[in-house]
């Protein structure tokens, strides 16, 4: 579903991402981890077409993001780490607005269950100023899920959520993957990655350090056997 080939992104002389390649199949959840400044957000933004790669190619559902951005974006949803909302649109109106952008016809049918799923039903008429950080995050995710995307990109999706919200969000992500969506999840919460990701991509200074299931990574690095993902991550990124 998502294919990244030789992705490179430079900002002047600073190389944010260097020759990165990976793919995510339908139903798979890829955990994107790395220290601050590793290039995780740049990678996600490149996939969604906000950032223009300096080199390489990205395809979503077979559509080249550079050449066929509209077709690629129809299949995509990007949930950024900072929820930015329109000051004077209510929760429900954000969803209706998103539906217009994505040409979702059966919006009346889709909105109520989505609001229920993300525990926003009681806040449907609230403006962003009346929402907590966690609720704003949930709204951004609800907007992302509205058009039933086949590829989901989450950047720190649990920030600001309470324990119940975290559990619900994890269920949501797993459920979407079960339904066949390809998911990329960028997070510093390694226990979350360990719990719900089928594979892990560890990045450092814009480069791929390791990619695969934990078992595959340990096969390549038998010296790390018996360690937790946190210890593996630190061993690989502090080396």
């Amino acid at each position: 579903m998502i294919e990244v080939q030789g992705l490179t992104k430079s900002y002047g002389s600073v190389v944010a991402v260097h020759d990165l390649s990976f793919s995510v199949a339908p139903g798979e959840v890829l955990g994107l981890v790395g220290p601050n400044g590793a290039g995780k957000t740049t990678t996600l933004r490149s996939i969604v077409g906000i950032v223009r790669p300096t080199g390489g190619a990205i395809r979503v559902g077979g559509h080249d993001v550079e050449r066929e951005p509209v077709a690629a974006k129809r299949l995509l949803a990007f949930m950024p780490d900072e929820p930015h909302l329109f000051d004077y649109l209510t929760v429900e109106e954000h969803l209706r607005f998103t539906a217009r952008l994505h040409e979702v016809a059966d919006v009346e049918r889709r909105i109520p269950p989505l609001l229920q799923e993300l525990e926003l039903a009681e806040k449907a008429e609230a403006l962003p100023g009346e929402l907590s950080r966690g609720m704003k995050q949930k709204l951004v995710i609800a907007c992302g899920l509205l058009h039933d995307p086949r590829a989901l990109l989450f950047d720190e999706p649990l920030t600001g959520l309470d324990p119940a919200g975290i559990r619900r969000m994890k269920q949501t992500i797993k459920e979407r993957a079960r339904q066949g969506a390809a998911v990329v999840l960028s997070s510093h919460l390694l226990h979350l990655v360990e719990e719900i990701c089928t594979r892990v991509l560890i990045m450092q200074r814009g480069r791929k350090v390791a990619l695969g299931t934990i078992a595959e990574i340990l096969t390549e690095r038998p010296d790390l056997r018996g360690l937790s993902l946190e210890d593996i991550f630190l061993a690989l990124t502090e080396a």
Partner: protein
């Protein structure tokens, strides 16, 4: 796409209006709304001479409007930015750039959405400058201005896209500007070539009668290559200057043609502007955040580093009030650099020397400018610089957690804007004195008298500043529900009314606080005069004594407000 944009515009307007109306149930907004409304009414309908924008239809209006528009366009071609062709906010970047939209659809969305603020700007300008004569012509002015703003917006967008495109192709800023200069020089050459024969006649006509001068200029503006050059500018401003509905209707097609050509220019660009727009949106959000915190000169952090950031060090021991003063001062000056000050000095001094003429020497103009800047800073600085309790009360829990007495907190908070604004005002006064120090003449007081005036003004301005800042902070502590605290500043008619009330209140308190000072200062001045001191020096003595009284009042107020702070709990802090 148009449907989505219209939906966003419509719902945002409805929700914003509902919210504004709902909060009028609170007395502070209702009173603010009434006062703001009265102010707006006065602004529009106050008795004035002339006909305001109605006069734009005069023969000179054509020439002046074309000249202004031309100057704006040339200025932006020379100094405009290639940063981002359109200003998106963070929510727009999040929703639009990830949606399955073509670049053209995104541009259409942005253009459509920006029409509301453009229309409001046009309507506000037309109403405020109508001279109180609202008529059918006012509607023509609104639509005319809207057309001008819309075309300018598209022109700037096209220009930015072209610049960004050149930058992507490796054409650097200097070479880009060189290209612009060559084009402008060519246009200038065409203009000069067109004017070269007629120019002496135009100059003579202006010398004889400005009206005749304008008429002569208008006639050559419509002939030869200059006529071709000026046509698009004239077409854009023509509807605005129409004196009747029929004239307006006949002029609109040409303006729409220019607008349409600009639209085609912009949407035909295939430049990928998303990345630049995202960066620009983030930068803009940071700038807005900085302004909301009272830091008006927010600049990129890398620029501050490269141009010598001002560093203030805090000693590890000392009064806690000093630490609060330091915190607020560092926050307010974080984005200032030595280069900023050098630039201001160069602009003030260089500009004055360039503008000086006749009996007005360059340095005289420097002094006048500095006195003007100092005066405005003294009056409006305490309202604008919010690096005190107006900013920090949002963090009341944190402040109250410190092992510090309330009076020390209030003292430190008040000291920051007093110090910063005081530095600006005193620098202006000292600069003005220095600029005229070498000057002798019958039109100026003697050097000794000027020194006495300076020594009188230094403590007096400090005293006035202290009272004005104290009033703002006292209002936050005594009437927390009436003052907007923290980063989010209220906007709208009601907020304007609240600010008017606050300013009026400040002035009343200022007068009351100055009464004892004037009495004591007056007595001291009279005594000094009786003791044989020259008048100016007696004024200095009066000022010093009066300022000492204000300082005493200030210390007393800080103690009292400190007590209020100690008794305050976080639930009482307002949010505007």
């Amino acid at each position: 796409m148009i449907g989505a944009a219209l939906y966003l515009i419509r719902r945002s307007l409805v929700n914003a209006t509902r919210r504004r109306v709902a909060r009028l149930r609170q007395p502070k907004y209702l009173i603010g709304f009434v006062v703001g409304g009265l102010y707006l009414f006065w602004l529009v309908f106050r008795p004035r001479r002339g006909t305001g924008l109605g006069g734009a239809a005069s023969p000179n209006g054509d020439v002046v409007a074309v000249g202004l528009l031309g100057a704006l366009v040339v200025f932006n071609w020379l100094f405009g930015s290639a940063e981002s062709p359109f200003t998106f906010n963070l929510a727009e970047t999040q929703y639009l750039f990830t949606a399955p939209l073509t670049r053209r659809q995104v541009i259409d969305f942005k253009l459509l959405r920006s029409q509301v603020p453009l229309f409001i700007s046009a309507a506000a300008s037309a109403i405020i400058f109508s001279g109180g004569h609202l008529s059918g012509l006012s509607l023509i002015r609104v639509v005319g201005l809207w057309l001008v703003y819309g075309t300018l917006q598209l022109h700037y967008a096209g220009m930015s896209l072209l610049r960004a495109s050149l930058a992507q192709q490796g054409v650097t800023g200097l070479r880009r500007r060189l290209g612009t200069l060559v084009v402008l020089a060519s246009l200038l050459a065409i203009t000069w070539w067109s004017l070269r024969r007629a120019l002496p006649g135009v100059v003579a006509a202006f010398a004889d009668d400005p009206q005749r001068g304008y008429a002569a200029l208008a006639s050559i503006m419509h002939t030869g290559p200059l006529g071709v050059l000026v046509w698009p500018l004239e077409a854009v401003v023509a509807p605005l200057l129409a004196s009747s509905a029929a004239a307006f209707a006949s002029r609109v097609p040409a303006a729409l043609l220019v607008l349409g050509a600009h639209y085609i220019w912009v949407v035909r660009s295939t430049l990928a502007f998303e990345e630049a727009a995202v960066e620009h949106a983030a930068k803009l959000a940071r700038r807005i955040e900085a302004v909301r915190q009272g830091r008006w000169a927010a600049r990129p952090s890398h620029a501050a580093k490269s141009t010598g950031r001002i560093r203030l060090r805090l000693a590890p021991t000392g009064g806690p009030g000093v630490a609060i003063l330091w915190k607020n001062t560092v926050g307010a000056t974080r984005d200032l650099s030595q280069r900023t000050f050098i630039l201001i000095a160069v602009v003030v001094i260089g500009g004055s020397i360039a503008l000086a003429s006749g009996p007005m020497r360059g340095l005289d103009l420097v002094a006048v400018l500095l006195l003007g800047i100092g005066g405005l800073t003294l009056l409006f600085g305490p309202l604008a610089a919010r690096c005190d309790l107006r900013q920090d009360l949002e963090m009341l829990d944190l402040l109250k957690g410190y092992p510090v007495r309330g009076r020390q907190v209030v003292g430190g908070e008040v000291a920051a804007p007093v110090t910063l604004i005081g530095l600006v005002v005193w620098s202006c006064l000292l600069g003005a004195f220095a600029a005229t120090a070498g000057r002798q003449g019958s039109d100026l007081p003697s050097l000794g008298d000027r020194l006495a005036i300076l020594l009188a003004l230094l403590p007096a301005t400090g005293a006035v500043l202290l009272v004005l800042v104290l009033v703002q902070n006292a209002a936050v502590l005594l009437f927390p529900a009436w003052v907007s605290v923290g980063r989010d500043r209220a906007v709208g008619l009601e907020a304007t009314g609240q600010r008017i009330l606050m300013t009026a209140g400040s002035m009343v308190v200022l007068v009351v606080a100055l009464v004892p000072a004037v009495v004591v200062g007056g007595i001291a001045g009279v005594a000094a005069r009786a003791g044989g001191l020259p008048l100016m020096w007696a004024v200095t003595v009066a000022s010093l004594m009066g300022s000492a009284v204000v300082l005493f009042e200030g210390v007393l107020a800080v103690h009292l407000l400190g007590g209020v702070f100690d008794r305050m709990d976080s639930g009482t802090a307002g949010t505007g």
